[in-house]
């Protein structure tokens, strides 16, 4: 009997707006924290834990949503506040009140300690999505304007010539890029685990698929050392390949990257460069 009564109380608590709000937030946390990391791999989709900064952002959004749901209806809002009010003022809730008075400061203390305790890791920082390219670069003493620059190996290239460029790019890639970026172009080369952040992968829709060939040329030619000061620290170990490859070899490897992944480089609209 007491077990049935306890179950009833639990069900009632779960049906109460306060209980529902708590359950929704707990569910959101479980989905964001564990669901995103572990459910997609069950279906063969790669995933990873959500960074703490993004988890916080998601939870705050969910909290705002829950508060809106609670307070957009007068009855629901009043019901939600009832247990809070009861714990704060009702005489028979003295023990809960005292427990909260101890637990809440403790919780804040633990969180504060977690934030300020000494660590030996580098601090997190904002990183740009893509570094903005300069207006022009000097490639082996020659000035090149980056915006609007097109891959010369594609100009008038029929199937045969494009194939030739692809084969040349493939050779360049295998000889120079595979150790880091991997033979599947997925960023998992033999040396990849030695770098943090790891080498870029090219297969997803978020990397070279978003970029023009001129941008990719600039990144390959200038490497990590040529990254702009804003958005630092980039922590990129990418060499400046202009010291090792010719201009044609770089354009050829760019053709290989796009042909091999199946992505098309971002191209210009008729009025100018592409927009998104």
């Amino acid at each position: 009997m007491p077990r049935a009564r306890a179950l009833d109380r639990l069900v009632n608590a779960a049906r109460h707006p306060f209980g529902k709000a708590t359950l929704i937030l707990v569910l959101c946390y479980l989905v964001f924290k564990y669901g995103v990391a572990y459910v997609p791999p069950l279906f063969g989709v790669r995933s990873a834990p959500v960074p703490a900064s993004v988890l916080l952002q998601f939870m705050l959004t969910a909290l705002a949503g829950v508060l809106i749901w609670l307070s957009e209806d007068e009855d629901r809002w009043r019901s939600f506040k009832e247990p809070i009010r009861a714990v704060l003022v009702e005489p028979d809730k003295g023990r809960i009140r005292m427990a909260l008075l101890v637990l809440l400061p403790l919780l804040v203390g633990v969180l504060a300690y977690q934030q300020v305790k000494p660590r030996v890791v580098a601090p997190v920082g904002l990183r740009s999505i893509h570094p903005a390219p300069p207006g022009q670069i000097t490639f082996r003493g020659r000035t090149m304007r980056i915006p609007g620059l097109e891959n010369p190996l594609r100009a008038g290239a029929e199937g045969g010539r494009l194939r030739q460029a692809y084969e040349r790019g493939k050779r360049v890639y295998v000889q120079n890029c595979v150790p880091c970026h991997g033979d599947l172009l997925d960023g998992f080369g033999h040396y990849a685990h030695g770098f943090n952040p790891p080498p870029l992968e090219f297969t997803s829709s978020g990397t070279i698929a978003q970029l023009t060939e001129s941008f990719v040329f600039w990144r390959i030619a200038k490497g990590g050392l040529g990254l702009p000061p804003e958005g630092t620290p980039w922590n990129s170990a990418m060499p400046a390949w202009e010291d090792f490859l010719t201009e044609d070899e770089i354009w050829a490897v760019i053709i290989f990257l796009y042909e091999q992944t199946g992505w098309s480089p971002r191209t210009s609209e008729e009025t100018g460069a592409a927009a998104e």
Binding site: P49, T61, S204, A274, E276
Partner: protein, 589 residues
């Protein structure tokens, strides 16, 4: 020999640039104590812009309100319009003062750059000043003639003055837009060596981003005007001394919010066009803005616009409790909320995440392998379009709440409306998903289909609804004044968020020029040429927002000094400060 050496030196770009910089810096810049010249000009320009948006947005609001009052015979709209036109008199002075300050700071702190601009735009500056005169005096006529020209044809003439005021005001803004857009996207024919006096005024004004900015700002001004009106109403609602005031300001808050959100719904489309033109003009500008160091501002923007959508919908949903008949729609609000919250989460998911080194290793880079799909424009366009559709649905439900259509085809029309919504949502989702499988250039075109689907829905459903509720029976009068006070904070949030967003995104647009006064034409060689960090920029903008809101509060207070005390005049008993009397589901008329 010397000539050869000089030629050699000039052929080295860096050396030549250094020479130009040294030459340009001499006498080119003044000094402002404490905060530096850039911050001084920034603050003054930002405040001038905020007041300008206020005095351009509120007249649109007043004119529309007056026209609605004339068409429907509802005197409340006329009172509302006049109340806000009175605010404009003081606000115009503030705008002019900040404008004059901007000219003084520019001419004293950036004399060479200011000289350059005046050489290019001198003719338009004279026209600008002349139009400002016309605008000011039209405003005086519009306000002081309100009670004289209030009946019949005279009222129509008065409304004509309101139209003229808005046309001239918009023309003034368009001219100023020409100056600032020239700094960002000067015509390709203008080079560093081009003498400013030889640049045609029209060529300079009609640059690549002029019209997108014009449209974006015009719509944004309506949003801004509406939100300030709503915030004013919220304050007056909470400070109401009697029931009549409470009802009036509750209604005013609703009207302000309605106009603000109606315009907000189309604002992202105009912003998208502007962004697209910036990319089309110069890839470097585009990447700096969206993918480079300004990219985090877009995450902030997504969060803030998410706040706007949530606050606006919240206000409507809470307001439905005072509408008899609205209870039949209440069960659906939670589903709309889920779409909105989901939309905010997707829209604000960064492509490149803030992560510790361990988290970076786990993700295999700074892009999350699964959530990364939310970081690109396909997902974000889909999210924002669904949020717009949802907000429009909220408005529709609110509008229909107390109506009982009497036309025989009412049920069919409601089903058709539902089908239009479903089709639009399907189109938005389809192109959002399909966008991942096509090249970028094709994907960009998909956003146009998404936008068209949403706009077509808004137009067709609204037109259908107008005919549907024509002559409809009322389920009971709206109980104006019966709003919980927490709903009014949503209106404050809207106004503050709009103001803050204006400053932040204005910085994003202006800051992408980086170390150029005029992009790739006139270099900024001052000590403040470096683009400021986002944190510093946010602090400056926040200070501007606080100053602006403080001054607007002062303007509100100032104009309230001439108000007649309503309770004495109407003999209405003061309202008791209690919770609203309504309960959901009650019909309580």
């Amino acid at each position: 020999m010397l000539a050869a050496l000089a030629a050699l030196l000039l052929s080295l770009p860096d050396v030549a640039l250094a020479q130009v910089a040294a030459r340009d810096t001499a006498g080119a810049y003044g000094y402002f104590p404490g905060i530096g010249s850039r911050a001084a000009v920034w603050i003054v320009a930002q405040l001038h812009l905020m007041f300008a948006a206020f005095v351009l947005g509120v007249p649109i609001f007043a004119m529309v309100a007056e026209a609605i009052g004339m068409a429907g015979g509802d005197k409340r709209y006329d009172r509302l319009a006049k109340e806000f036109t009175r605010l404009l008199l003081v606000a115009y002075s503030a705008t002019a003062i900040w404008g004059a300050l901007l000219v003084f700071t520019l001419s004293s702190l950036y004399p060479r750059f200011w000289g350059y601009l005046t050489q290019v735009f001198s003719v338009s500056m004279w026209i600008y000043a002349a139009l400002f005169f016309v605008e000011s005096f039209t405003l005086y006529l519009y306000y002081y003639g309100w009670d004289i020209w209030k009946e019949g044809a005279a009222k129509l003439w008065h409304l004509g003055l309101g139209v003229l005021l808005n046309v001239v005001g918009t023309a003034v803004m368009f001219i100023a837009d020409g100056w600032l857009t020239y700094m960002m996207t000067p015509p390709a024919s203008v080079r560093p060596e081009t003498a400013p006096g030889t640049v045609g005024v029209w060529t300079a004004i009609a640059n690549a981003t002029w019209m997108p900015i014009n449209i974006h700002r015009t719509i944004a001004n309506v949003v801004f005007g509406g939100s300030i009106v709503a915030a004013y109403a919220a304050y007056r609602f909470m400070a109401a001394r009697n029931e009549e005031e409470r009802q009036h300001y509750d209604w005013m808050g609703y009207v302000g919010n309605f106009i603000a959100i109606s315009a907000l719904i189309v604002l992202p489309f105009a912003g998208y066009w502007l962004g697209r033109e910036i990319y089309a003009y110069n890839e470097q500008l585009g990447i700096t803005m969206m993918g480079g160091f300004m990219s985090w501002l877009w995450i902030v923007q997504a969060i803030l616009i998410g706040v706007l959508f949530l606050a606006a919908n919240y206000y409507l949903w809470v307001g439905m409790a005072r509408i008899p008949g609205a209870e039949r729609f209440r069960p659906y609000t939670k589903w709309m909320l889920i779409i909105l919250v989901g939309g905010v989460i997707v829209w604000a998911t960064p492509h490149t995440m803030i992560a510790t080194r361990e988290e970076l290793v786990a993700m295999g880079g700074s892009h999350h392998p699964f959530l990364g799909v939310f970081g690109v424009m396909s997902a974000k366009n889909t999210a924002v379009n669904l949020m717009i559709l949802t907000t429009f649905l909220s408005f529709l439900v609110y509008r229909r709440a107390n109506s009982r259509p009497v036309v025989s085809w009412a049920k069919t029309a409601t089903w058709v409306q539902g089908a239009i919504f479903a089709t639009a949502a399907a189109i938005v989702v389809f192109y959002g998903v399909y966008g991942y499988f096509v090249p970028a250039i094709v994907r960009i075109g998909f956003s146009v289909y998404q936008v068209l689907a949403v706009l077509a829905t808004i137009v067709s459903v609204t037109v259908l609804d107008i005919f549907l509720v024509r002559g409809a029976e009322s389920r009971g009068a709206i109980r104006w004044g019966e709003m919980p006070e927490r709903s009014q904070y949503a209106l404050f949030i809207l106004a503050v968020t709009f103001t803050w967003l204006m400053g932040l995104m204005g910085f994003a647009r202006s800051g992408i020029r980086q170390h150029w006064h005029v992009f790739e034409v006139m270099r900024d060689t001052s000590p403040w040429a470096a683009t400021p960090a986002l944190g510093y920029a946010a602090q400056i903008i926040s200070v501007c927002v606080l100053i602006f809101l403080g001054l607007v509060g002062f303007v509100f207070w100032l104009t309230s000094l001439v108000e007649k005390p309503v309770p004495a005049a109407l003999g209405v008993a003061p309202v008791a400060r209690v919770e609203p009397r309504f309960a959901p589901g009650s019909t309580g008329e």
